[in-house]
Amino acid sequence: MTAGGRESDEPRWSRLMAAAQDGNQADYARLLKEIVPMVRAVVAHHHRTPDRIDDVVQDVLLTLHRIRHTYDPTRPFMPWLVAVARRRSIDAIRRRMRTEAMEISDDTSYETFADPLANRELEGREAADALAGALAALPRGQREALELVKLKEMSLAEASAVSGQSVGGLKVNVHRAIKALRAKLKGG
């Protein structure tokens, strides 16, 4: 007897399948539940991972449902079931091989969007977050000098008036702030 099925299962499954063909839904549900271990055993001969086995088992049940009218109750049920399970297992292998042959692995595709504009927007947002973090980490005098002179584009005299720093002090703080930011952002 094939894996998962006992000798005594054969006549009962055959009877249940005949009843299912006649529209007995309770017998059909019972049969489908009972045959799962056997289907799983056949599928496991061809597939390794539990997820894939589950997928193929579901596929076998769907196929069985669609072609249930082809079962002849005067013939044994198990060879019919095993043939369906084996065939669908092989088809799943072929489908996977076809897919793998057509696909090219590109690790960066998992990190970026297909649309370059979308990536630019995302990258811009990430860069802005990093810059804001680096700015916040600067000493107050340097941060203030940078914001007033470079971001708000004030003249040194205006910035000096607003911040109270001397023009020379502003120049030094801006220079140090840019140097510190460059080091911070480059280092990641």
């Binding site: 769907l62 196929t63 669609r66 019919w80």
Partner: protein, 221 residues
């Protein structure tokens, strides 16, 4: 049992309406062949030159060739119906091979005889163009009718079913050709016949998707 599997089983059981079982493959093959026989008999009776055919059938070579063609047609159709079911052995695919060998060998022998008698004239096109049209003209509607009947079984492996069916249909068309082609077969004729039979089998192979591709059968939803 996993949750998705339980749900699937419930869904399938809820959809478990009564279905009409397929008749045994031999019964279905004989019914299809019987229908083709009726239509063919009507066509031959109405349009063929029967007296000429009867005079040619005295030739043992032609009888052998005709027997090979008829048996190839029957065997290939019977094989196609069996192969369309999941639990029938794939060895059914070999059933048409012996009569096919007889058909090809007897046709080849007739050509060779023709070559000996007529020499290079054996390469002339003869009536081949008409034969080509007749073979395709008969095969295509017969093939479509066969495809329709075979698709009821939704074969899990449609390619061998289509090839056997295509061979069967081409052989039946070749039998009918004998009633409308009262000439010795030249090498060129044989080549044209082979191309026509090959085209029919190729067309059947290409339309095997219509038999119900497994991917379609397993589509969820």
């Amino acid at each position: 049992m996993s949750e998705p599997l339980d749900e699937l089983i419930e869904k399938l059981a809820a959809d478990g309406r009564r279905v009409r079982r397929l008749a045994p493959p031999m019964t279905r093959a004989m019914l299809w062949l019987g229908a083709v026989l009726l239509v063919s008999a009507f066509a031959v009776w109405s349009f063929a030159d029967l007296p000429l055919f009867m005079s040619r059938i005295d030739d043992a070579k032609l009888r052998l060739e005709l027997a090979g063609t008829v048996l190839t047609g029957i065997a290939a159709i019977v094989a196609a119906f069996h192969l369309s079911l999941p639990d029938r052995p794939t060895t059914w695919a070999w059933l048409p091979v012996p009569p096919l060998v007889l058909w090809v060998a007897s046709s080849g022998y007739a050509c060779w005889q023709h070559w000996i008698r007529f020499g290079p004239e054996g390469w002339t096109l003869g009536e081949s163009a008409d034969c080509f049209r007749l073979l395709l003209g008969v095969s295509l509607p017969l093939g479509a009718a066969l495809l329709l009947v075979l698709s009821r079984a939704r074969p899990l492996n449609p390619t061998p079913v289509a090839i056997a069916g295509g061979l069967g249909v081409a052989a039946i068309a070749a039998v009918l050709l004998q009633f409308f082609h009262p000439f010795d077969v030249t090498f060129m004729d044989l080549g044209v016949h082979a191309v026509a039979v090959g085209l029919v089998i190729l067309a059947a192979r290409m339309s095997s998707g219509l038999l119900g591709r497994p991917e379609d059968q397993a589509s969820r939803g």
